[in-house]
Symmetry: C2
Subunit: 170 residues, 2 copies
DNA sequence: GTTGAAATCGTCTAAGG
DNA sequence: CCTTAGACGATTTCAAC
């Protein structure tokens, strides 16, 4: 396991979340480092799994998918097919979270139109009891992950569950 | 307004969501286009707002923020300070959605530890009535936005609200 | 971690179909 | 609207300090 991230690492992460296409030269200037040193740190962050990849951010509204909704799905253990077949059967589901309590699953879906959204709900509804919530607007999303306050970071050293089971893995 | 996206555009978007650092050359090979033609299309998608930017994808768990929670916040209209001050006061809030019904707001927060999460809840709770839900695990998130089925796309031409008010803008 | 230099790669422009 | 070819510019990478 790699050691904790220092301030420079966080500055690099911050810049790379704002513009993932920065060259090592440009990035280095922003964090007061030379290009090779910057490249080393980025490579290390990639290998440590902190940087999971680089991707274009798509504005779904401009891409013909203006509707977003959250769906709470309560399915019986054996029937929760979403885990395995989501990729093929539910392309509109862009996120799947398992929540605490009531064996609940939270889905986030994108749709092109109200009929489309309705059809998605109907399809998901076959897998369990659902509770839907339509998003009117989004103030922001994908906000850069930033360095947590020091007093909370110290709790990182806490036992077991925070490291091993990886509650929110990619 | 630009016209609708064709199949090649969607293939480009798909590839760029998987690897946002592809060169026009590499990308062109994947979609059977030359580099200049690919550059033209990408530039057009950028200017149309479909591609909103490029960013590094951070694995929050590996970055010391293993906990994720959703917070439903029901705040009185005048006291909903989250809109303006979120950036400074709530760095842990990575998403803000306005939901239909009950003047509800859905927040997504990331935390380093349980005490940290508890402290965040307490801080948000000062702005209204909250209902919290902790994420146990995430099957996936940030799934690439894909081309919607044709029968649903046709509904894009529906009136007013789907274009003008942009329910899910970046 | 820094500096400097060389090699590589990508981008851009232009001409042509 | 796409393709090919060439030149320019930039980045990455290696070496040495």
């Amino acid at each position: 396991m790699s050691r904790s991230l220092d301030g420079t690492d966080w500055r690099i992460l911050s810049e790379l979340q704002e513009d993932g296409r920065l060259s090592f030269n440009q990035l280095g200037r922003k964090v007061n480092l030379s290009a090779p040193a910057t490249a080393d740190r980025v490579r290390r962050l990639e290998e440590a799994g902190v940087i999971a990849g680089y991707q274009a951010r798509i504005d779904a509204a401009h891409a013909g998918l203006p509707l977003t909704a959250f769906v709470k799905l309560r399915c019986s253990p054996g029937r929760c097919l979403l885990r395995t077949t989501a990729s093929d059967e539910f392309p509109e589901v862009v996120e799947i979270h398992k929540l605490s309590g009531s064996s609940c699953t939270l889905l986030r879906v994108r749709a092109a139109s109200m009929p489309h959204l309705e059809e998605i709900f109907e399809r998901i509804g076959r897998h369990g009891e659902i509770d839907t919530q339509i998003v009117l607007s989004t103030q922001y999303e994908g906000r850069p992950v930033t360095e947590p306050p020091t007093e909370n970071r110290s709790a990182e050293r806490s036992p077991g569950w925070s490291r091993g089971t990886r509650p929110d893995g990619a």
